[in-house]
């Protein structure tokens, strides 16, 4: 497998059977060991694009290449186990303890439960959680704690790729900033290929090495670094989207 390719969406489109066009002929790449932020308002197809990577959504046309290989050719179950996935509400299994939640994917891959639990304990540290919460259930954790466990679970199987679907949207701004800093620190240490979906342009600029801005109706407005989008917005839509965001960041 060639290195340096990360994830490539090749003119992918998706129309749901109730007729809504979620993604309309989008081509974009996520560089390896870098973070791509997919940003846009709701209905811009950012989550659909993300879910094409681990084949939770199958595009009507176009292909998704993972390190140069078409993901349609891979077995969906093994593919999903090799990709970390963080959902908005943490997506934790309410009936398992924090430790068992984190150890879920390695156990699915066949690791012995005891070893998986040891590794899970280390991950608790990495995402900044105390060991004392290991036997608690998700319903006993705060929003911030649940998100951290979600990230730890996604990292448990040591995947190459990490998909994050608005993971910090449901927490208050202060905790969100902490989580964002944690993610940047982690990324600097472990260098995963991260695809981060958000509707908040500041978060996209703050976290994304590259930012892809999507228009409602699932078309790509512009792709580039934060600096490029701010200095040379491709059109009025990009400019107004960014200005709305920047106004807020100047006030902070």
């Amino acid at each position: 497998m060639e290195h340096g390719l990360g994830i490539a969406w090749k003119s992918v489109s998706k129309t749901y059977n109730d007729g809504t066009v979620a993604v309309n002929n989008v081509s974009v790449t996520a560089d390896e060991h870098r973070t791509l932020a997919l940003v846009g308002s709701s209905g811009s197809g950012k989550t659909t694009l993300l879910q094409m990577v681990n084949r939770m959504v199958t595009p009507n046309s176009g292909t998704v290449l993972i390190q140069g290989q078409d993901n349609q050719g891979m077995n969906p179950v093994t593919l999903r186990r090799s990709i970390g996935y963080v959902l908005q509400n943490g997506g934790l299994l309410p009936n398992k303890t924090v430790l068992d939640n984190i150890a879920t994917v390695p156990v699915l891959q066949g690791t012995r439960r005891k070893d998986a639990r040891v590794h899970a304990l280390e991950l608790l540290d990495e995402v900044g959680l105390e060991k004392s919460i290991q036997n608690r259930y998700p319903s006993e954790l705060s929003g911030g704690q649940q998100q951290r466990v979600g990230v730890a679970r996604a990292l448990a199987a040591n995947p190459e790729i990490l998909l994050m679907d608005e993971p910090f949207a449901a927490v208050d701004p202060i905790v969100r900033r902490n989580l964002q800093d944690e993610l940047l620190r982690l990324q600097s240490e472990i260098g995963k290929t991260i695809v981060f979906v958000t509707h908040d342009i500041d978060e996209a600029f703050y976290l994304g090495d590259k930012v892809a801005l999507l228009r409602p109706g699932g078309t790509l407005a512009q792709v580039g670094t934060a600096r490029e989008l701010i200095d040379h917005p491709a059109d009025s839509f990009v400019a107004s989207f960014i200005n709305a965001g920047c106004l807020r960041s100047e006030l902070q």
């Binding site: 398992k96 994917v105 705060s142």
Partner: protein, 219 residues
């Protein structure tokens, strides 16, 4: 009141018989209905007809079913298997609908997360769907248990005796105390089974009983 003391051996005998006759249908009814409901849920066609199937099964009057089973099963008339099979059919009728609702009530985002993590169908059923539908399934089993325990008494009309014996003998001898003792004993057994099921629920599903502790954010 000394009737109670004089006959407590007989009462205990029939109470034990009553419990034995009820346990089997409750367990088998649940073991059959839960997977069947999950399977039927899978297809849109059968999902909507679960309610109809249950109401048809439940509409069958108990007496003729008890009479015809010996002929259908080629068993002896007084063999308790007949009433066990009849009660199991009723247990399935009740359990089908509540099991179907239980599985439909699971939070879709958790199912989505499980799929995304790469759970296979069987693992997802046992490790995710069954535990999460657990509390509603348990409510269904408790309804089945109560109705089975009270339905066992109909067996006395065809010679398969349980606490129902006291209803018939009390009615013949114009002896209300005997009937009320039978009713009280049946209700007590229903309560006993109900509490046992409740305790099983608490032990098997601890996550249902712990709420958010005081916010101790780690950041």
């Amino acid at each position: 009141m000394n009737w109670l003391i004089l006959n407590c051996a007989q009462i205990l005998h029939y109470a034990l018989q009553h419990m034995l006759l009820s346990v089997f249908p409750i367990l088998l009814g649940t073991l059959v209905a839960v997977p069947l409901a999950r399977l039927a849920n899978g297809f849109r066609l059968t999902r909507s007809s679960i309610y109809v199937a249950s109401s048809v099964l439940y509409a069958i009057p108990s007496l003729p079913l008890l009479i015809f089973l010996p002929a259908l099963l080629r068993t002896k008339i007084l063999n308790p298997v007949n009433i066990e099979v009849a009660l199991t059919i009723y247990a399935i009728a009740i359990m089908l609908t509540s099991a179907s609702h239980a599985f439909l009530s699971i939070d879709p985002s958790v199912i989505h997360a499980a799929d995304a993590m790469g759970f296979g169908a069987w693992k997802k059923f046992f490790q995710v769907e069954l535990p999460l539908a657990g509390s509603q399934l348990l409510a269904g089993i408790r309804v089945v248990s109560v109705s089975t325990i009270s339905l066992v008494t109909v067996g006395s009309l065809i010679g398969v005796n349980s606490l129902g014996f006291f209803f018939l003998e009390g009615y013949q001898r114009d002896f209300p105390l005997e009937i009320w003792v039978g009713i009280a004993a049946t209700a007590l057994i229903a309560l006993l089974f109900d509490q046992i099921l409740a305790i099983c629920g608490r032990v098997l599903m601890p996550w249902n009983h712990r709420r958010v502790t005081r916010e101790r954010s780690a950041a």
